[in-house]
């Protein structure tokens, strides 16, 4: 009798599955635990590490040295204390919303009662650059960031294609650590900030004052492997000029990571479409963070919101609503690019807590 009763109790427990362990997913898992202490919570991530603070990745270039433990949002004990099962190196290949099942790459199926998509976004590479992607380094994970830092010799030259705010955050750190940085491109410069053309010139000048070389009106014609004894990469611009670089990084904004949602029966545009409660078109699926497009009644359109504070709030609201709440996402951080008293660029997207 006792075991039957226990089984019945277990059967009633919610199983919240959170895909992604970034800021949104990590915050959601905590909120889920606080609001439903009897539940089973599983976080899935394709990475090998626990939740990590990507905003601090530029520190991999610090001469003081660091390892991945310095970047953890929480120590391993945190997950045990909060009874959050964090499963890493897990790739979701398909979501069967009708049967509330996740299909995993290693051929295991995982059932859920409520699902939060918080898988974030990966680097976006414009079509014109896609043919050169193998000559561009990645910087999205700790392993990738560390690999770049180890490949870059002292005072080395980094070329950034695009120059979004993630890249510019890295650029200012690289300058501080004594590296050279050149930014090429106009279209993605300062993304996701919406900067008027007149202002863009002013901010570009400030970037140059900060020590970052900007070729805003140039575009890449070709990228080649550097010749022996020269730098590793050779870039030919559309104006015929060339640049040699040790490392080339693409910073042209983010592309939501949701290939696994194809065929799930959930409405998707560029991201997962959710209402202001962050609920998708499936009653058991929510989305938060860089992966979702939220309906904005004021703008009468779906739109993305970026930045630490925004995605953290999304994680909180989604978890609140997954546990029976009814809250709309409403407060977002200021999205304006600013100039500090010392004359440097600053962005709310660089802030984290």
């Amino acid at each position: 009798m006792r075991s039957k009763k226990r089984f019945e109790t277990m059967a009633k427990r919610e199983h919240y599955v959170v895909i992604g362990n970034g800021v949104a997913g990590t915050e959601a898992a905590l909120q889920l635990r606080q609001r439903d202490q009897n539940s089973h919570i599983t976080m899935l991530t394709a990475g090998k590490l626990l939740s990590i603070n990507r905003y601090e990745f530029p520190k991999v270039f610090s001469p003081c040295g660091s390892d991945w433990r310095d970047f953890l949002l929480h120590p391993p004990e945190y997950y045990d204390e909060h009874e959050i099962s964090i499963q890493r190196n897990i790739w979701v290949t398909h979501v069967n919303a009708a049967e509330k099942l996740l299909m995993l790459r290693h051929r295991e199926s995982l059932s859920y009662t409520k699902l939060l998509i918080a898988s974030g976004g990966g680097r976006y590479i414009p079509e014109s650059l896609n043919q050169f992607r193998d000559l561009m380094e990645k910087f999205g994970t700790y392993e990738e960031a560390k690999t770049v830092s180890e490949a870059l010799s002292k005072g080395g030259h980094v070329v950034m294609l695009g120059g979004d705010m993630i890249g510019l955050d890295l650029a200012r750190s690289l300058i501080k650590y004594g590296f050279r940085v050149t930014v090429i491109g106009q279209e993605y410069l300062f993304w996701p900030h919406h900067v008027e053309p007149a202002e863009k010139q002013r901010f570009t000048t400030i970037l140059q004052d900060m020590g970052i070389s900007v070729r805003s009106y140039a575009s890449v014609e070709s990228i080649e492997q550097g010749k022996s004894g020269r730098k590793a990469r050779h870039i030919v611009l559309n104006d015929g000029k060339t640049i040699d670089a040790d490392i080339i990084l693409s910073f042209c904004g983010l592309m939501p990571s949701l290939a696994f949602m194809a065929g799930a029966g959930v409405d998707i545009e560029r991201g997962v479409l959710v209402d202001p409660h962050l609920k998708s078109t499936d009653k058991n699926i929510w989305a938060a963070g860089d992966v979702c497009q939220i309906w904005s009644p004021e703008e009468n359109q779906y739109r993305f919101y970026y930045g630490w504070e925004n995605v953290k709030e999304m994680g909180r609201v989604a978890a609140f609503n997954m546990t029976g709440g009814n809250e709309s996402i409403s407060t977002f951080q200021d999205e304006k690019l600013i100039v500090t008293d010392t004359g440097e660029i600053d962005s709310p997207f660089w802030q984290f807590s």
Partner: protein, 602 residues
């Protein structure tokens, strides 16, 4: 060529799979290669009683640059070749340890059946497509264990040349195509492992041999016994297979005929001991090997060996008991049977080595002692020691003496020779049957000096005293460690007294305790009968509290010591089928140290 770091090496790897997955073979390549590269290696394999198909196999190897004495409680990496078995072992992986597993199972698996969902947050997951790589590179999934070893070697920057050497040697008798295929599988895994981002912090550092190929040989306890037998020039071996002693017979069956010696598999253990006694009586260096159930069957004949003063050697590898018990699990519960298991007062020599090198020495010295003291000598092993592998450096010069029997100085006539002559040391000059000048009688009955049956009360008293007295000299037998003390040599709060395979864990615990500032000392007792009472009593005199950890329920060694010395001990007994955990012994040392301090303060 991998650059070896300058830091010390201490990494423990566990490989877990199902029987038939090649788990033990993978572990064997790992330990052989690392020993070849000059590292100290202690390894222990666990396998199921079933032959094939579903039982669990675990191969563990601790690879170090410094001398260590046991496996660690926690492994630094676990390789899963079968998740259904390996999931239970995830918990043995330490903080920031790696769990390496198959990432592309061949078929759909049930929820929760994949190991990735069982990792602790502090574990590091390394999923690898072992099967796919093996199929792609070797044309078969069968080499996925080799791919796994290669990946492991690459991931931990292990010296690749040593692996190539061991694999080539291991497959030397197979076709070249097969050997090449296995090497391809290893190299494919190695390449992927070496190019995987290393999140773990353990690295292979310096070796004992400082990177040079060394004279260290990876050897199991049973292999060391067989080698000791061969170096002692064994003439005859009789045995009947039983886990975990079988490999002694298997090895000798292969080696003895090369030297013209004889090995016979008998129909049972009774025949084996009977034939051994017969050969020993005839002057051969003779031995048998069995486990606890076999020793039970041999008890009666063992008594004949004592009474007839026939030199023989019996290697007994203990396993979980009683009866069939736990055939593939370790235990130290046959001590009472070994020491007391004969009819009457049948004392004989009992040796219990504590490590693989000790197995070699005890095996060879057992023949010397059997001849010198004219008695059966039991060498008491256990599964953990029989199957444990260590990197050992064997002596270049054969350390074992030949023909240790007390010589006959005077040959007069047939009637004057006394096979059981009463002497000061209790040892009689020994003649071999067939010597016309030394005709004598041998019987299981009590007898007089010439071997003729006698139930005279004085004769039985005298002969009993002779058979016991002659053994006393054995505690001073040269060239073998009878007992040895480690750690603090002065007064200490805690002493740990141990025997057999558990002593490795005892030493590790003592070393840890000393690092914590606890005044402690450990003593191993290799000769369990007769007991070396002088050093044991001296040890008790120096220790505030004495702890006796052993793998049996009845505290057999502790009781033996208490009975012989009248001293008090603290018992620590486990019968889990696994070696004693260092941390359990350490916890007990801490408790006793506190107690000793409190008593001292009063």
């Amino acid at each position: 060529m991998v650059k070896i770091g300058k830091h010390k090496t201490d990494i423990q790897i566990a490989i877990c799979g199902s029987a038939g997955d090649g788990t033990i073979a993978a572990g064997d390549i790992l330990k052989q290669a690392m020993a070849k590269a000059g590292y100290n290696v202690i390894a222990f394999d666990i396998y199921p009683p079933e032959i094939r198909g579903f039982g669990k196999c675990v191969a563990r190897a601790r690879i170090t640059s410094e001398q260590v004495y046991s496996l660690k409680s926690e492994s630094d990496a676990l390789v899963s070749l079968n998740d259904s078995h390996a999931i239970a072992h995830v918990q043995e992986v330490g903080r920031y340890g790696a769990v390496i597993y198959e990432d592309t199972p061949i078929s759909d698996i049930a929820e929760g059946a994949h190991i990735s969902s069982h990792l602790a947050p502090a574990h590091l997951p390394y999923g690898v497509a072992f099967r796919e790589i093996s199929e792609r590179v070797t044309g078969s999934a069968r080499s996925r264990n080799i791919v796994a070893v290669g990946y492991l070697a690459g991931l931990y920057d292990m010296p690749v040349e040593a692996f190539h050497h061991v694999i080539t040697q291991k497959f030397a008798t197979k076709s070249q195509a097969l050997a090449d295929s296995v090497l391809d599988g290893f190299n494919a895994g190695y390449h992927i492992g070496a190019n995987t981002f290393h999140l773990h912090f353990d690295r292979i550092g310096t070796s004992r041999g400082k990177g040079k190929q060394s004279d260290l040989v990876m050897m199991s306890g049973n292999a060391a016994v067989a080698r000791g037998c061969m170096d002692a020039e064994i003439d005859a071996f009789f045995g009947y297979p039983i886990t975990p002693a079988t490999t002694i017979m298997e090895t000798l069956a292969h080696e003895m005929p090369k030297r013209g010696a004889r090995m016979l598999q008998t129909e049972d253990e009774i025949s084996a001991i009977a034939a051994t006694i017969g050969a020993g009586y005839a002057g051969a260096r003779a031995a048998t090997a069995t486990s606890g159930p076999g020793l039970a069957l041999m008890s009666e004949m063992m008594g004949l060996g004592v009474m007839a003063e026939v030199p023989i050697v019996a290697f007994i590898s203990q396993r979980g008991g009683p009866s069939t018990g736990l055939p593939t699990k370790t235990e130290q519960s046959d001590l009472n049977l070994a020491v007391f298991g004969v009819a009457g007062d049948g004392q004989r020599i009992i040796l219990a080595p504590t490590n693989v090198e000790g197995c070699y020495k005890c095996a060879g010295k057992a023949f010397e002692m059997a001849e010198k003291y004219q008695t059966p000598v039991v060498v008491l092993l256990d599964l953990y020691l029989s199957n444990r592998y260590e990197a050992v450096e064997l002596p270049k010069k054969n350390p074992f003496a030949k023909n240790c029997s007390k010589p006959i100085t005077q040959k007069t006539n047939q009637s004057s020779y006394k096979r059981f002559k009463l002497t000061n040391d209790g040892i009689s000059p020994r003649a071999i049957p067939g010597d016309e000048a030394c005709m004598h009688t041998v019987t299981g009955l009590e007898h007089d000096e010439q071997g003729r049956p006698s139930d005279h009360p004085v004769m039985h008293q005298t002969m009993s005293e002779k058979r016991h007295k002659k053994l006393l000299g054995a505690v001073n037998h040269r060239g073998i460690t009878i007992s040895k003390r480690f750690g603090d040599k002065r007064k200490v709060d805690v002493g740990i007294l141990g025997w057999g395979s558990t002593f490795g864990e005892i030493l590790e615990a003592m070393i840890e305790a000393r690092k914590e500032g606890i005044r402690c000392s450990a003593m191993k007792v290799v000769m369990l009968s007769p007991l070396p009472l002088k050093p044991i009593n001296a040890f008790f005199d120096d220790c505030g509290e004495v702890l006796v950890p052993e793998l049996n329920y009845e505290a057999q060694f502790a009781s033996l010591i208490v009975g012989a010395t009248g001293r008090q001990v603290h018992r620590l007994n486990r019968v889990t089928g696994s070696p004693m955990r260092v941390r359990e012994i350490l916890a007990e040392i801490r408790r006793l140290a506190d107690k000793a301090q409190m008593i001292a303060a009063q």
